[in-house]
Chain length 426, copies 2
């Protein structure tokens, strides 16, 4: 807990309560605040006897030697970057629990069979550079490094991942790849970010997989015109069209038991008396199965251009004058397919939860799927992987008020440590 709150001095966000630690976090990836958190991570893990390696995506691997060192290390890890108005636990818990693990191993003179390590992945959130888990994605060979390096920040400013990695001194020499830096396994402790554990009074979620999601950028082009002299029929109103599309994405999500979300929307020129000629927005589509997201993608690709052209799809124009057609482009930015975690890791977590919780284990644990993406999605493509969830208050995340009880953090860290040791032994 001390490490969590100590590191949250870098990038402190909005206050939600009166106590010293009752603030959120705003530590976007590769900012100065992120650099400070990284320096703490390197200094602390080195002091605990680790060798640290920075790869070409700025991922930091801290490795503690084992009795034998002829096989890759077993890792725990997560991320130190946050949302622009995020909380103190998302990602941070997983990394600080890894550091705590190193302390426990050192304090108790534990020697592991093989090396073990803690990894801090770069730009997991995708909140600054808009592909989530991009650096574990490069490590796994799923995302080309060039694509990642050229990613431009979502908010005005022209920085790319490569330029910011250079600027803060984290463009490492080691190639970012599972081939250059292999792992025996990857375990990740994370807050659930949803309400299921809390609602059912469970303490540990044994995560067996992650739902699929795709991110799109939608651009609508209409025509700048005067709001006072242009009748509704003569307008190509890019914002009216975008509003219909946002609503329609929710209609499609409702019909297909999927999720649709728009978190970013910008328009031009941005004047009270000019009908906007251009709107760009993000669209995040999720569902438990690849086929549902594929269906949603097809519906978006067929319906959105019709709505932009003025057709009345499923009531999109209901009682509303339709203007001139707008042009539309739909770009797929990233695709995180449905993930199933490794039975050896799931079993290591299950047994560790049993040993930590004793006879209450059955009542206090549950298997579940993650609604959010995590770096474990990509590590699972190259090594056995699984995750441990702990409850967070009201399921709220990506919000300054995100909160996880101290005892829940501690229990999660204990299960994480044991899972790693179990895997190391097998």
């Amino acid at each position: 807990m001390e490490d969590i709150h100590h590191t949250c001095q870098w990038g402190t966000g909005l206050r939600w309560g009166s106590a010293r630690t009752e603030t959120g976090m705003s530590r976007l990836s590769l900012t100065d605040a992120d650099k400070q958190a990284r320096e703490w991570f390197i200094g602390t893990t080195q002091a605990l006897g680790c060798k640290t390696t920075i790869d070409s995506m700025g991922n930091i691997f801290a490795v503690r030697p084992g009795i034998r060192n002829d096989k890759p290390p077993t890792f725990v890890g997560s991320h130190l970057d946050t949302q622009p108005s995020g909380g103190r636990y998302d990602g941070i818990l997983g990394v600080t629990a890894g550091v705590e693990m190193l302390k426990v191993l050192a304090d108790n003179w534990v020697e592991t069979e093989y090396p073990v390590g803690v990894v801090n992945w770069t730009n997991e959130e995708g909140a600054r550079f808009p592909i989530s888990m991009v650096s574990s994605g490069v490590w796994s060979g799923s995302i080309p490094e060039e694509t990642a390096h050229n990613l431009r920040e979502v908010h005005p400013g022209n920085a790319t991942m490569a330029s910011e990695l250079s600027r803060i001194g984290y463009l490492g020499q080691t190639p970012c790849s599972y081939e250059s830096f292999p792992m025996a396994a990857h375990f990740e402790l994370h807050i659930e970010q949803g309400p299921l554990l809390e609602m059912s009074n469970k303490k540990i979620g044994i995560v067996t997989g992650v739902q699929v999601y795709r991110w799109f950028t939608i651009k609508v082009i209409g025509r700048d015109t005067h709001t006072g002299t242009t009748d509704l029929k003569s307008r190509a109103d890019a914002l009216l069209t975008a509003s219909k599309l946002v609503l329609h994405s929710h209609r499609l999500a409702t019909a297909n038991s999927a999720l649709a979300s728009t978190g970013i929307l910008t328009l031009k020129p941005g004047s009270p008396n000019t009908v906007p000629g251009e709107v760009t927005f993000s669209l995040d589509i999720r569902a438990p199965t690849d086929s549902t997201v594929e269906t949603m993608t097809q519906l978006i690709e067929s319906d959105f251009p019709k709505i932009a052209a003025g057709e009345n799809v499923l009531g999109s124009n209901e009682n509303c004058t339709s203007g001139l057609p707008c042009d539309i482009t739909i770009t797929l930015d990233s695709d995180s397919p449905a993930t199933t975690f490794h039975p050896d890791c799931i079993s290591a977590v299950t047994r560790s939860a049993q040993s930590a919780l004793g006879e209450d284990a059955k009542a206090l644990t549950m298997e579940m799927t993650s609604g959010a993406g995590h770096d474990s999605v990509y590590t699972s493509k190259r090594c056995p992987t699984s995750m441990i969830f702990v409850p967070c208050r009201e399921g709220v995340s990506h919000n300054p008020a995100e909160f996880c009880k101290e005892e829940d953090c501690a229990l999660g860290a204990q299960v994480l440590l044991q899972s790693l040791l179990r895997f190391d032994r097998i």
Copy 2:
């Protein structure tokens, strides 16, 4: 035409054609570019024998003495500020035609009965500081000067009108008021900004009044949450709500033969995987009559909170899961009531158009109402006022491609000069 294109070197906007003058304008009020245009205006009118006065809103009055000077001057005027992606004619034509008038009077040694003048009004567009015609509004006593001075710019930056007036050196000593600086009359030449003149092959619009409009700021407060872990029912999605409201404003406008437009929309926190907890947008409502805008206002005030609360008003939720309620605030920012111009001024314009067009006058002129607001709305509260419209290509305005033919500009300027002289005589 030389003055138009010469002054468009300050704040040149987007290019729409290949010729030197085929660009739009981006000269927001009280920027450095606006200061340069103001300095040209002062230098040029002084060289033509005028005395210039700057008032406490930065309005610039250039006055040419008459035979007698014991009555207030008759003015022509408009504005030199533009939209962020505006054209070369909106406002600029009216001021440069005034300067041309001064040249014609000087070249021909014309003496007027009473003084005459040209005025450049500050921030007519309302595009930077979000009340349109704010400085003629202060002059007429309709808007408190304090409100105007405290207006904050719409785009990030913290400047107010007062701070920017000081910064560029245009916070004048003369109180901004019709009492300190009275006018005998105000004539304004402007492009129509709509398609009616062009569509009916007319050359001169004799403007008899201006439609009413109100500007609102709508703020929707929901809750930041994770896009992947929060089901649709558990979201208070401020952007989904704002989309429904934008669409609903168009439904209400359709039903009431009014106009509704949203030109600005910003959201927080702005991340692809966070449901936005806060959206703020502008709403511009217009109609020919005060009563229609009043009806629209009442419908907005009753329907918007219902929609934000999740009720299905006129199909606003059609086929779409409704989430948790959002809070909403609706603020009226400005109100420009329906305006009827003065019969003496209308008649001066009608006769001047007749004399300029000869026997074609009937075929080439029409009486009309303005869809856009103009400083003449406020001057008309304190002195006889009317306007002259000339056609612009396809009715397009607030767009870089806004265009008015040279011969149409010239004809408008001729009618403007004659209208002023006729009024001076009566």
